[in-house]
């Protein structure tokens, strides 16, 4: 018995040691770990895989990029920040523009400043010429990432349901919006796919639209930095009052506590007529696993009432390598990402707007996006998402307090007061 057990242990130890050894070949090869969430069922996964394979083939024997895939935004972020704290940063990673992530990483001082590489390569510098994008990823004079995707977020709506309710075009003012919601609701369809679970994503987007289109005060509110943010203001309270009406009357029963999956599914199944979301959702309209056949033809994409759109920097690619050798190799990969073909392929999949000069003729945007982008670029009110204007703890608190707001046990003023307390405490 003892021998058998020992034998089994030894055999397994040997097997496990032999099996996954990777660096048997090419001792001079620089290996780069690319921490990415674009794996599995993520629509950008095939793009990433192809890009990395092509790059590895081009640099055979010199550089090898290995994808360290962690699916899910939250799990990936958890790994990234643990790596940052343990000083084992990945050589390549996705740097999100969300303040909750960007600020933390920027302050950690573990992300490589790309300015010296820009200085050394005039062509690279010329390419990254969008000052707005560059500024987003600059912290204390250091450029921390190559800006890569910019998203315009409006409101998707189900044209078939709108027509059935006798609404001919997407509402342009909030009064029209609520009138239309009333018609849809009388028809037995929930007007909006909202959610209060997870990070309250679609509800928070509606809140941003409500605040951003309420006038100059609203635009200013969304530009305020999280630590100076005030919630006891008419701007915020008025928007919350409207959100309360939406949550109370104009959404599905299961919106309270719902995650993104539930909210999206309500829209995809025609149970809700509108959803606020970004271009990454377009793929699911034509995906047979998520939506009924032909659904993509029913969907329209509109600016928020009040001529508003969320214009947000989305992601950049960055490096955290510690040695010069690895840094150089990582920057080489970053430059490869900015080549026209690679970038066009990316924009075609994700539907994002470009962050630097590129040959847009190669980009094949989905039809829905094609129509929406020109409108979005010209929208009168452009603003960012709520999570960029408040502390992360406030976003967490939304999930706690929105159910009360929805069933009216909490008034908008009380809601604002409680949020203010949470913001002060954290």
């Amino acid at each position: 018995m003892k021998r058998v057990v020992l034998l089994v242990i030894v055999t397994f130890l040997m097997v496990s040691m032999i099996l996954p050894q990777t660096s048997i070949f090419g001792a001079n090869e620089v290996q780069l770990r690319f921490l990415s969430l674009q794996v599995g069922v993520h629509p950008e996964a095939p793009w990433l895989e192809k890009t990395v394979n092509d790059f590895n083939a081009l640099n055979k024997g010199k550089i090898k990029v290995i994808i360290d895939g962690v699916a899910g935004d939250q799990a990936c972020w958890e790994k990234l920040r643990t790596d940052a704290a343990a000083n084992t940063m990945p050589d390549l990673f996705t740097l999100k523009a969300d303040r909750s992530e960007f600020d933390v990483l920027a302050q950690s001082d573990r992300v490589v400043d790309l300015n010296s590489y820009l200085k050394a390569d005039a062509e690279f510098k010329k390419k990254l010429n969008d000052p707005g994008s560059l500024e987003t990823y600059t912290y204390k004079g250091k450029l921390l990432g190559v800006p890569y995707a910019k998203a315009y977020v409006g409101i998707y709506y189900n044209k078939t349901l709108f027509a059935k309710a006798g609404i001919n075009s997407f509402p342009v003012t909030w009064d029209e919006f609520f009138a239309a919601s009333d018609k849809l609701s009388k028809m037995g369809v929930a007007p909006l796919a909202l959610m209060t679970g997870e990070n309250s994503w679609t509800s928070a987007l509606m809140l941003a639209h409500l605040i951003g289109t309420s006038g100059p005060e609203g635009l200013k509110w969304l530009q305020t930095s999280p630590k100076d943010q005030k919630f006891n203001t008419p701007v915020f309270i008025n928007a919350v009052k409207k959100l309360q009406i939406m949550l109370n009357q104009y959404t599905t029963l299961d919106a309270i506590g719902a995650g993104y999956g539930v909210a999206a599914n309500n829209f995809l199944q025609g149970k809700a007529a509108m959803i606020a979301n970004g271009p990454w959702m377009i793929g699911s309209f034509s995906d047979p696993k998520s939506a009924p056949e032909g659904f993509e033809k029913k969907v329209g994409y509109a600016l928020a009432p009040g001529n508003g759109v969320i214009a947000m920097e989305n992601v950049a690619y960055a490096t955290g390598s510690k040695t010069k050798e690895k840094r150089d190799a990582a920057v080489k990969f970053l430059k490869y990402l900015t080549t026209d073909d690679v970038y066009a392929a990316y924009l075609s999949v994700g539907g994002a707007g470009p962050c630097f000069q590129t040959d847009l003729s190669k980009v094949k945007y989905p039809a829905i996006n094609q129509a929406f982008l020109p409108l979005a670029v010209k929208a009168k009110n452009q603003y960012t998402i709520v999570p960029n204007a408040v502390k992360p703890a406030v976003i967490d608190a939304l999930a706690q307090l929105l159910p009360g707001l929805a069933d009216k046990s909490l008034a908008a003023e009380q809601f604002a007061k409680q949020i203010q307390e949470i913001s002060d405490k954290n």
């Binding site: 209060t196 506590g257 159910p403």
Partner: protein, 291 residues
């Protein structure tokens, strides 16, 4: 009997692997965590010394008290409902009637399922629009009682308790293992004395199960204290912190990168749990041999 020296050598050598592993992966991180509670640590890098500020903050934090209260009710339900149910199931199974092995397998199997699946199922049972409970209520004409069980402030926490209290399989099987290792002779002699099945259970089996039942109580209470994954998926503490527990609150604070405050909550969790464990050990006279 050999000399004491051999015995001493055995004790030391036999304990070394466990103590080394435990020391490296439990004691060391734990000491580190306790130490960090006295520092400011709200970014990736640790800040300066702040004394007992985190503890003061904790004692003024309303959510902390809600979490504590929830942990307490969870532990009591585990002690006084969950484990007695497990004990009952184990005793019934131990009669070895036809089909007991199949049932034992069934009881244990669901524990191989990940917490994610569990959480998703229960969310659907409680779902306000098509969930099992509301559908049944509507079917029997009690539609007025329908509600969003997991997100109604009044029902949220009881609903959470309901998600695990009847899943007694694991502990039933552990206790069953102990019942089956009781020497047959004891029952034989009892049968000669004419004791019936139920009497046997109460006079012979249950007293002999003191140790394992106590262990199970400690396991379920501590397991409950550490549990957060399912809660995180189901409600994440909502609505209005009704379903917050210490472990979940701690996890949320880690997500917000308030590391040292999270660790302070961890210390509170430890203290709370220790109280329960020590009481449990005293109550069940754990560690005393039955022989």
């Amino acid at each position: 009997m050999k000399t004491n020296q051999e015995q001493r050598r055995f004790i030391v050598l036999a304990l070394i692997p466990a103590v080394v592993l435990f020391g490296t992966f439990y004691i060391l991180p734990m000491l580190g965590l306790i130490a960090t509670t006295f520092f400011e640590w709200n970014t990736i890098k640790m800040g300066g010394f702040i004394g007992f500020d985190n503890y003061l903050k904790m004692f003024q934090d309303n959510v902390f008290y809600i979490a504590l209260q929830n942990n307490l009710s969870w532990s009591l339900v585990a002690m006084f409902i969950h484990i007695p149910l497990a004990l009952m199931v184990a005793l019934l199974l131990s009669k070895k009637f036809r089909g007991w092995k199949v049932l034992r397998t069934i009881y244990f199997l669901p524990h191989v399922i990940s917490v994610t699946a569990f959480a998703v199922i229960w969310m659907n049972v409680f779902n306000p629009s098509f969930g099992l409970i509301n559908s049944v209520l509507k079917m029997i004409g009690l539609g007025a009682m329908c509600r969003n069980w997991l997100y109604d402030q009044a029902t949220a926490w009881p609903a959470i308790l309901l998600t695990w209290v009847f899943h007694v399989g694991l502990y039933a099987v552990i206790i069953l293992g102990e019942i089956l290792s009781i020497p047959e002779e004891l029952f034989e002699s009892a049968e000669i004395d004419g004791a019936s099945g139920i009497k046997q259970s109460f006079h012979i089996t249950i007293p002999l199960l003191r140790n394992i039942t106590g262990t199970c109580v400690i396991l379920t209470v501590t397991g409950g204290l550490r549990y957060f994954e399912g809660l995180y998926i189901m409600t994440n503490g909502a609505p209005n912190y009704r379903t917050e527990t210490l472990a979940l609150y701690l996890y949320q604070k880690i997500q917000l990168i308030q590391y040292s405050y999270a660790n302070t909550l961890g210390v509170a969790l430890l203290a709370f749990g220790l109280l329960f464990v020590i009481t449990g050990m005293k109550l069940f006279k754990l560690g005393k041999s039955d022989w």
